[in-house]
């Protein structure tokens, strides 16, 4: 970052629930201190003082689902030195990416009595499908401690470092008994990116992959194991097709599973 002045931060929203940008306001203990390190130049949810660019860091929440938004993200990119996506919608298309497995006209008319008023694309795509993204923060929602760590790293001019292991390892660290081994329930922990703190297994349920695929994500042996335990495709495909349905590793695994069983992908 430029020396001698605070980096200028902007927050932008596309198709999303607001939860990831809310995570910044949820850093109650750090919020006022972060504002000493960083100048919040444009954050409509928190401030009426909306300053024009250029910005040092743009945080982008949400996916691209309209023509206007596909244009808007280009402007934001050209106005920002670094662009960081926050959350599953911006990094993988979000839950609304499920539309790619449906018929968009039918979906719109199912929700709106006057579908002609609605203009939306048949896809919900991640930001990286439209512009260069410098850094991605995963999660549905993101972890606010990770968000603050990344912002502090940027303010200090160093590259953010985040763990890349899977949720499975976090369970071992927490001492949570494995639900796949002990109860035979499906859990995406072995193929999901760390970051949530392995909370689902700690609350006696399997991980549903809201932080997206880990790298690598060995989905094939895991899904074979679940099938050997008696779990059927009609339960395993939706498990992969939720908040990160269009993340390549989950999309491929779910598509292969449904093709093997003669279902349309």
């Amino acid at each position: 970052m430029a020396r001698g002045r605070k980096p200028r931060l902007a927050v932008f929203k596309f198709a999303s629930c607001d939860g990831c940008q809310l995570s910044l306001l949820d850093a109650e203990d750090e919020l006022l201190a972060v504002c000493d390190l960083i100048e919040i130049a444009h954050f409509a949810e928190a401030s009426s003082d909306l300053q024009p660019g250029p910005y040092d860091v743009a945080l982008v929440e949400g996916s691209i689902t309209t023509e206007e938004d596909a244009q808007r993200i280009l402007k934001i990119r050209s106005n920002s030195r670094y662009l960081m996506t926050i959350g599953a919608c911006a990094t993988a298309g979000g839950i609304q990416a499920l539309r790619q497995w449906g018929q968009i006209e039918e979906w719109v008319s199912r929700v709106y009595p006057s579908p002609e008023f609605i203009h939306t694309l048949a896809t919900s795509t991640p930001i990286a499908a439209h512009v260069l993204v410098d850094f991605e923060l995963h999660g549905c929602p993101v972890n606010h401690h990770q968000l603050v760590d990344v912002l502090v790293a940027l303010a200090e001019g160093r590259r953010p470092r985040l763990p890349t292991h899977s949720v499975c390892l976090d369970c071992k660290r927490r001492g949570t008994v494995c639900h796949v081994v002990s109860r035979g329930i499906p859990c995406l922990g072995p193929v999901t990116q760390s970051g949530c703190g392995a909370i689902c297994p700690a609350f006696d349920r399997g991980c549903y992959g809201c932080f997206g695929p880990s790298q690598p994500a060995q989905t094939v042996p895991l899904l074979s194991r679940f099938q050997a335990l008696g779990h059927t495709t009609d339960r395993l495909v939706p498990l992969l097709r939720n908040f990160n349905a269009a993340a390549p590793a989950f999309q491929q695994a779910a598509d292969e599973l449904s093709e093997l069983h003669g279902e349309p992908s």
Binding site: K13, S16, L22, L25, A46, S47, S48, R110, N242
Partner: protein, 434 residues
Amino acid sequence: MSTTDVIEVPILTRVEGEGGVTIRVRQNTIENVQLRIYEPPRLFEALLCGRALEDTPDITARICGICPVAYQMSSVHALEAALGIQTTPQIRRLRRLLYCGEWIESHALHIHLLHAPDFFGAASGIELAQRFPQEITRGLQLKKHGNRLLEALGGRAIHPINVAVGGFYRLPRREELAGLIPDFEWGLEAAIAATRWVASFPFPELTQPYEFVSLSHPDEYPFNEGEIVSSQGLRVPVTEFDRHFVEVHVAHSTALQAVRHEQRTPYFVGPLARINLNRGQLSQTVQRLADEVGMESECRNPFRSIIARALELVQVYEEALDILRGYHPSGPSRMPYQPAAGQACAATEAPRGLLFHDYQIDDAGKIRQARIIPPTSQNQRQIEGDLTTYLSRNLQAKASREELASDCERLVRTYDPCISCSTHFLRVRWEEIP
């Protein structure tokens, strides 16, 4: 002369989601006001179809990052009604406790960071913290305790993971909740102090002939159950929602607007409606505090909603403390059930007001149809009505365009609109028709 004057003012800020307002002025009077919501549609009701009913609380939570618990609660109650599931008193209490956590987080955020800056000409809560450091720090602490409660019981604050159809995936251990008691004892006193602070703000004059609508329950302040009541004397079970309320689709919005069925008139949901319709169900502490700070028994000034929100903050801190103190885990964490075809609806009180869900399920336990009516869609028509009245009056009083635009934003903010919920990019746009 027939020119059209269009003035752009900045997007509506300090609300959840994005939207705009278009104001048409003809011969120096307000002809028409439209709250424009062009949040990109995410089509939740369609993407739920064909999913296992168990996925519904996790998916509907993603409609809103500020009030996910509300979506989880309305969905599980509707699905349980469809399946004939009766939960235990313990599960019911824990659901109220989870809702307390969300009301605290949402109300403390709106009061301190989103709404209070308007009364002092500040751009943000962060800027207001320079003038009121103790009050804003206290507000952030109040908010934090709500989030810690959501984490202890729900697993995390945004999109909790512990809510299941039939109950919870796991009951919290006693010590997980008991550890919160000291913070909630502090929080109850801090919320009372915050109420006295906001009640001292300078409120603009505006009194409107609203029809207030909320749930109401004889024994408790409404969260998860009750009848639908209104200030015009309506009192009906939630199952009769469609007979009395209807959604209409207008071209300027990706959200549907709800109105009263017969009259086609707007109505008002949220903290002000709840407090007006359920004053007797407030705790003694809150009733005394409401009297002390001069909250009218039927307050019709939307700017005073911040006092209603603060009084509710005290109410839920007190209730949460009561549940936390009495908590001893026992019984099942969730009720077993067999999938069966059915249809049912339910409504609960989200921080912003009544949230209605309606589902049809098939005999394999998959969602066939879903319908969700969020509080902001219900308030949208009323917000437009308020803007017309308020801006007309201020225009007569020779307010400048800039002042009017800022009045407009302030008035919209009193409703704590959640535009992500109702579906977004709000610009105030002026169109003058001479």
